[in-house]
């Protein structure tokens, strides 16, 4: 095929963008375009604008209903007040309530991470700049200006948001008409501080963008130099946000010290930060050493590295053992909720995905009753959970004559409390003879019952998506494999799995995110008799938000949960990026 020849020509280029740009060259020979859009750089610009216009409708909706809640939660999390949307500013107070001093360590390390990201991005650009003699440096200033503009735009959002959210309280009572509302919106919009914040941001953004355009134009039209705008821009953004975070943390810590001084209590924030951070640094170092030990050829070198890695780990452990003391004043419900969440995720995601993959692979074979099976497996997901929850309440009832307990009876076992059983399953299996502590005793039997309900519901969902993924694998590949004489398992291993990897990646990410904030299935089956062992993080957040209307505190918890999910997603992405194969 022709493509292969092109690819040979393109051996100097490696990035996908150049590849795409080159392809559009062909088309370009036929068509003329305005000067901005001419040449290689112009085509990039055109594709960029088209892509943005494709994204625009979806991002408008997601911006309103997905990103606005994010900004709202971030803003609310810094406020306190019962049933108050615009409460009083409390800095990191809500976070401190939830995880105690750990939050200072977290913000500190997030800031470090952002700085690290910025530095590596810049370093990579500079390295390329030196090696390949590209034109990286001329992008620095426009990118920094635009990044500052973007950061100021974020600031504008957080200047405007509180003012807008105050409108409802001004409307309350008898002047609540549409005209009054519109009038207040207009008035708020034209507030000097809002306008100033807006225009400063816009001027910097537009200035930076225009500058970048100029630089772009000054690059020879058909040069293949990459555009270094994005790396410098994102480096700028992360430096600015990291700085803001540090500034906030610094102020908060100082305020905490001032308060402690007033109350005459000792505070050891700094020493805690240093201790815990050092612990994690040692751990990181140990991991690095351990990894590098694998590459060593000499045995002694390896042994030395392994030994020192273990030593470092031991040291790290000593330091990290401080952690419980650091978080001791946090919200116990929250920690228990997180633990339950982790149990829930670990207990459901692998089983659910594994089962679904097996079922989908089998359902894809030539079998009788394929249609019927597919419908049957899908039913649990479709059924309204008010109905299925009632059935599972019966199945998992504590009644000795309930379905599961009758089965236990057949095997001569005592009836169990199921949804009303707060003891951990490992503790129950070991007969409770050893005190295992809260983590080792495992999820409570009640939570396990709920997990089974969750798995039961979502296997059908996952199966349908796996089936779609299997459908997207071209038949030719199987035909080729058949000719090569590959057996069923070999075909599955070497054709199906790699080609299904985008779907597997999608589902695993989606399932992890979904189960971390799973709510409905847990909420409908939770019983007071489980003594809170089934309350996952999302339940704790729900109670704080809805029952107690502590909007600020609930938002802070939600942001913490989001950070956890985010970290896990990033880790998942790193692993997946090596393994996912897009045909």
């Amino acid at each position: 095929m022709a493509v292969q020849n092109w690819e040979n020509d393109l051996h100097v280029d490696s990035t996908a963008s150049q590849h795409a740009a080159f392809r559009s060259d062909l088309q370009q020979q036929v068509r003329a375009a305005p000067s901005w859009f001419r040449g290689r750089q112009g085509r990039r610009l055109r594709e960029m604008l088209l892509a943005y216009s494709f994204l625009a409708p979806a991002f408008l909706i997601i911006g309103l209903f997905g990103l606005f809640p994010l900004a709202f939660a971030a803003y609310e999390s810094t406020l306190r007040g019962l049933n108050k949307i615009v409460g009083s500013y409390d800095g990191l107070g809500n976070y401190v309530k939830a995880v105690d001093n750990l939050i200072y360590i977290l913000t500190f390390w997030i800031a470090i991470g952002l700085a690290y990201f910025a530095v590596t991005t810049i370093a990579r650009a500079v390295r390329e700049h030196r090696q390949e003699n590209t034109n990286a440096m001329r992008w620095v200033l426009p990118a920094i200006v635009t990044a500052t503009g973007a950061a100021l735009f974020a600031r504008f959002v957080f200047v405007l948001l509180p003012e807008m959210l105050l409108i409802p309280s001004k409307l309350r009572g008898q002047n609540n008409t549409q005209e009054a509302f519109r009038g207040l919106v207009v008035e708020t919009w034209w507030l000097p501080k809002v306008q100033i914040a807006l225009w400063v941001a816009i001027i910097l953004l537009a200035g930076g963008a225009a500058w970048a355009m100029r630089v772009n134009r000054s690059v020879a039209r058909d040069s293949r130099d990459p555009i270094y705008f994005v790396p410098f821009f994102s480096a700028g953004i992360s430096l600015i946000s990291g700085g803001a975070l540090i500034w906030l943390t610094w102020n908060e810590i100082n305020a905490a010290y001032a308060e402690a001084l007033e109350e005459g209590v000792g505070l050891e924030l700094w020493s805690q930060i240093v201790t815990i951070s050092a612990g994690f640094l040692l751990l990181l170092l140990a991991w690095r050493l351990w990894e590098s030990a694998g590459h060593r050829t000499s045995n002694t070198g390896m042994a030395v590295r392994l030994v020192s890695a273990v030593a470092l780990m031991a040291g790290a452990w000593v330091l990290i053992a401080e952690l419980p003391r650091v978080v001791s004043a946090g919200d116990e419900d929250w920690w228990n909720g997180l633990m339950a969440t982790v149990f829930y995720v670990m207990g459901t995601v692998p089983i659910q995905l594994g089962l679904a993959l097996i079922l989908a692979a089998l359902l894809f074979q030539k079998i009788r009753g394929q249609t019927l099976f597919r419908v049957l497996y899908f039913l649990p997901y479709v059924a309204p959970f008010v109905g299925t929850a009632a059935v599972f309440r019966i199945i998992f009832s504590n009644r000795p004559t309930a379905p599961l307990n009758s089965m236990l009876d057949l095997f001569g076992a005592d009836p169990l409390l199921w949804l009303g059983e707060p003891s951990g399953i490992i503790e129950m299996i070991t007969g409770g003879r050893i005190d295992l502590g809260p983590i080792l005793s495992g999820p409570s039997l009640a939570l396990v019952a709920i997990m089974i309900y969750g798995i039961w519901t979502y296997v059908g969902f996952d199966t349908v998506i796996f089936l779609a993924g299997l459908g997207a694998i071209p038949n030719e590949l199987y035909e080729v494999a058949d000719i090569d004489g590959a057996g069923g398992w070999a075909q599955f291993r070497h054709v199906t799995l790699p080609l299904l990897s985008p779907t597997i990646y999608f589902l695993s990410l989606y399932a992890v995110i979904g189960t971390f904030k799973a709510f409905n299935h847990i909420f409908v089956l939770r019983q007071a008799a489980a003594l809170g062992t089934t309350d996952t993080a999302s339940i704790v957040i729900f109670q704080a938000f809805k029952r107690d209307t502590r909007y600020g505190y609930a938002s802070a918890l939600a942001i913490l949960l989001l950070l956890i999910i985010m970290v896990i997603t990033l880790v998942n992405n790193r692993i997946a990026s090596r393994r996912v194969f897009y045909g």
């Binding site: 004559t401 109670q543 107690d548």
Partner: protein
């Protein structure tokens, strides 16, 4: 294939556009805001004409449309609709009431809070519990009833005022908010004990239990008769049940100055001790699969405990199950929670209606409806439709026929005089959950005194924590 699919897609899109283009139903603005009060017409003097003087002078309630967010569903909703229709057709002020079901209490609460956050005007009349009132008033969402009740033109006469059970009407008064009266009771329910009289008689008892000792004996006898773990009393872990038992044994869950909780009083300890003993002896059991009424109707429980508002459901289930099993219907009844106090102290609860702050005309029209709705004749109709308890003593005069037909209701009605109330503190919703957990801990074998001490501490911490966020 390709084109076919394209056509399907196109057809779908067209369908979507057509649907989207359908004229949107005229938005029913929750309040007819555009309606202006007619200009100062001093000589206006028909029925419902604005008062010439007094605090509400010049406010004209005529022709207002009032929306009422309530939680009544099914047959209660249908019967309410009939009463409301009657009001709309016959009230001399030309007020139109639009009663709308909004799901359950929690849904209404979510809706009011979301409306408050967004500046949307909530309905003029909303249903909710007393601690909801406190939450709402943190944002000054509600109107003070006193300005209507005390108004010489539109308010209640001293006689009418005294006709309301004082304790019911005082529940809506909030000292935290300058003693404003934020809620008004349209009806009440109470925590009662349902008992199967026929069965008790078969077991050789001659009536429902009055004291805890009798209660325990009867439940144990019934459990023994069934012999499979059922038959006794169905334990109820709800905080209202805990409060009821505490009241019945002469205690209280609120401290003396009504600012905190006491869950570790002797009465609560005694109640828990007894219930735990009954569970251990098989005289009580947990039923977690659904509502207890069918269990009761099928003779798997001799006693259940719950809100008196469940009466019609119990009545239904008893009839249905007896029919389906082809046996005579058991005679059953409701009685006071077995008590050691001289008078049976009942846990009385129920949601209030509230008027949301808005146009004065709207507020006044909403009040006029409430006033009508709680007048004895109308309340009697509502009580018969819903099985709730009236909040005015005068209503009973209109209920004699109904009480005769529904002896269980009559039994409960007779208990109305001895009321006690659950806390209305802002943290009570959260504390209820904690109390429920503590009840289960005790039933699972935790030390009673220690658990109740811990519960008291937790509850007071919760109160302190939430009050700490009130500014």
């Amino acid at each position: 294939m390709n084109t076919k699919r394209m056509w399907m897609l196109a057809a779908l899109m067209v369908g979507v556009l057509v649907l989207a283009g359908c004229p949107a139903p005229a938005a029913q603005a929750p309040a007819a805001m555009e309606e202006e009060a007619p200009a100062e017409e001093a000589m206006d003097s028909g029925p419902c004409a604005p008062a010439a003087d007094g605090p509400l002078a010049g406010i004209d309630p005529r022709g207002q449309t009032i929306v009422w967010w309530h939680q009544h569903s099914g047959s209660r909703e249908e019967k309410l609709a009939v009463i409301v229709e009657d009001y709309n057709a016959n009230n001399e002020c030309g007020i139109v009431l639009d009663a709308q079901n909004q799901g359950g209490y929690n849904d209404i609460r979510d809706k009011v809070n979301a409306s408050t956050a967004s500046g949307e005007q909530p309905a003029s009349l909303i249903v909710g519990y007393q601690n909801d009132q406190a939450f709402y008033q943190l944002n000054e969402v509600l109107a003070d009833f006193d300005k209507f009740i005390d108004d010489p033109n539109w308010g209640l006469s001293a006689e009418e005022r005294d006709d309301y059970f004082a304790s019911f009407i005082e529940q809506g008064v909030h000292p935290v908010f300058d003693g404003q009266r934020l809620g008004f009771p349209p009806n009440r329910s109470m925590e009662v004990l349902y008992y199967n009289l026929t069965w008790l008689e078969e077991l050789g008892f001659d009536g429902p239990p009055a004291t805890p000792a009798e209660f325990e004996e009867m439940a144990c006898a019934a459990a023994e008769a069934n012999g499979d773990g059922t038959g006794g009393y169905i334990l109820r872990d709800d905080a209202s049940a805990t409060a009821s038992w505490t009241f019945a044994l002469g205690g209280d869950v609120l401290n003396e100055d009504n600012t905190g909780y006491v869950y570790n009083g002797q009465a609560t300890i005694d109640a828990m001790t007894m219930l735990k003993r009954m569970l251990d002896n098989g005289c009580a059991y947990f039923f977690t699969e659904g509502y207890p009424n069918p269990e009761f109707a099928a003779r798997r429980a001799s006693f259940t405990q719950g809100s008196s508002s469940g009466l019609p459901f119990y009545a239904n289930d008893i009839v249905t199950i007896a029919e389906e099993q082809g046996r005579d219907m058991d005679e059953w009844g409701v009685t006071a929670i077995p008590h050691t106090t001289e008078n049976p102290v009942q846990n009385i609860y129920g949601a209030d209606v509230m008027i949301t702050a808005g146009q004065p005309e709207q507020e006044l029209a909403a009040w006029l409806f409430i006033k009508w709705f709680t007048s004895p004749e109308v309340q009697a109709r509502w009580v018969e439709a819903s099985n709730y308890f009236p909040t005015r003593a005068g209503t009973e005069a209109h209920l004699s026929g109904y009480v005769e037909e529904n002896p269980q209701y009559g039994e409960a009605l007779a208990l109305l005089g001895h009321g006690a109330y659950e806390p209305q503190l802002i943290s009570y919703q959260a504390v209820r959950d904690a109390a429920e957990t503590a009840f289960n801990e005790i039933m699972q074998g935790a030390d009673i005194q220690a658990t109740l001490d811990a519960l008291t501490e937790t509850a007071n911490e919760l109160q302190e924590e939430l009050m700490g966020e009130v500014q």
